[in-house]
Homo-oligomer: 316 residues x 2
Amino acid sequence: MKPAIGIDFGGTAVKIGLVNDRGKLLREDGFATADARGVKGWVDAVAAALERMGLDLNRLSQQVSGMGVGVPGFVDFRRGFIHDLTNVPGWTGVSLAALLRRHFGVRAVVDNDCNAMAFGEVCYGAGRKFRHAVFLTLGTGVGGGIVLDKKVWRGAYSMAGEIGHVSIDMYGVRTKTGRGGLEEYVGIEPLVARARKLLRKRTSILPDMVQGDLSKLTPRHLAEAATQGDSVALEVFDFMADCLATVLADVTYLLQPEAFIIGGGVSAAGKVLFDPLRRHLHERLSPFFAKLIQVLPAALGNRGGMVGAATLVLRG
Amino acid sequence: MKPAIGIDFGGTAVKIGLVNDRGKLLREDGFATADARGVKGWVDAVAAALERMGLDLNRLSQQVSGMGVGVPGFVDFRRGFIHDLTNVPGWTGVSLAALLRRHFGVRAVVDNDCNAMAFGEVCYGAGRKFRHAVFLTLGTGVGGGIVLDKKVWRGAYSMAGEIGHVSIDMYGVRTKTGRGGLEEYVGIEPLVARARKLLRKRTSILPDMVQGDLSKLTPRHLAEAATQGDSVALEVFDFMADCLATVLADVTYLLQPEAFIIGGGVSAAGKVLFDPLRRHLHERLSPFFAKLIQVLPAALGNRGGMVGAATLVLRG
């Protein structure tokens, strides 16, 4: 089977890969999201990248099986229609799949970026062994993708998998999406704010790591400090792990997947996150459920979005 | 197609029905659960009931397509194996499907009772119009059944759909199944206890309804008082509705079904439960999700278990 183009449309960068039907990234290019203005500018920048990758736009349909795009926002997968992108202006109500088909003359699919990453992980990453797995990405917010029977579960209207909005406290933080949503507690901002608050009363190596300027604190500093045994950083990760465990327990009781796969920048913390996460999840589940569920770090890293988006075409 | 036998194995009563392939209950019989001791006694009591229903045990396979049983506990559907029944002693580790096949010479399936009810509702009840619906039954605890693509979703190990264990408060009531599980707040006991506590400081028509003996208070009294505008009873239902809405919002964000179908004794409260439930659910969802989700009362009532269990055979 011919390879497919996989596009990971991020808030900062657009990554474009040529991916074969064994999940291998053959070639890669891309551009900064801010450099391409509007939908037209974006399509032109994609075209330029494809040419740099050695593809011939006049005979693209002979070179690739199609084009898959993972985008950071609300998408109707069936129609390939973007309702809205959370952090990229100018992308409200765009029939991107149809536009790409017309412009490039190849099959095109458009999905939410977390769904694409989830599919990549279960096809070629940490979830290869599983038929049913739930993917979470930890960053500014919490994204999710649910895979049942080796297929992305998109729900009745293509909007399922919003794990970041699942409530951990019915009387918790109030937002436009409800109350007590997970990502209000474990997104980068609330986590760093929690550390700053603890630092008012506690000694820690964290202030020295940012030359006393706590506004510079990032999850990377927290991970480094926790790895060195810093009690404030460890407490922040323990809290994060317990919030996540609450939602993973909910999902386990509802869907009973075989595994959770955790990716995204914050998951790079590794052991200081995964150890308490597994422990709290076990505490929050009956033994029947606890003994059967696995929690694994994502395996595809930055390639996940490209590989997943291309694989939506190749296995679609 | 020949009709099937559907058995609703409850903690109090065992209901046995003959159900055709349009979901119609043709004949019905049953016995009190306490009257049949052990597995052997239960099978004998089922046999006697089938004879009372005019079925001939010597040529049962010519009269029916098979036999479906919904049981109140942990089941491995694929193997027709009962791990354990919550409130019925003597039913740990029973290969019921194999036993019924041998004893009656017909195809047999065994499932969790809520899964059977959920399937009945989406085939012939309130969920007929939907492909994706989530069923809840409100009683002593909260049971659930998830239907995706018109099939019961049982998860990787046949234990999915435990909606009663989904947490509404990560630091809430601690039990063997986690912390803050829904049914610890909206089961019959916690609801009635909540009413009793409010009654210490408030005037209400409830004490008169039970001749001053608050130990006799039931959800039926609460429903009647709420319908008459009693502020204590209304507050209890509003709280129950908000707890339920928290979990329905979680499920909507994760799975985005088309509808929730609510059954069980407590759901008979009707408007005083469903009105605040729909209102709180809308408050807890982004408008994109809120406008698409429906909340409906179950339609099959007491027949749901029998009809559903038989239909698991007929459409299996």
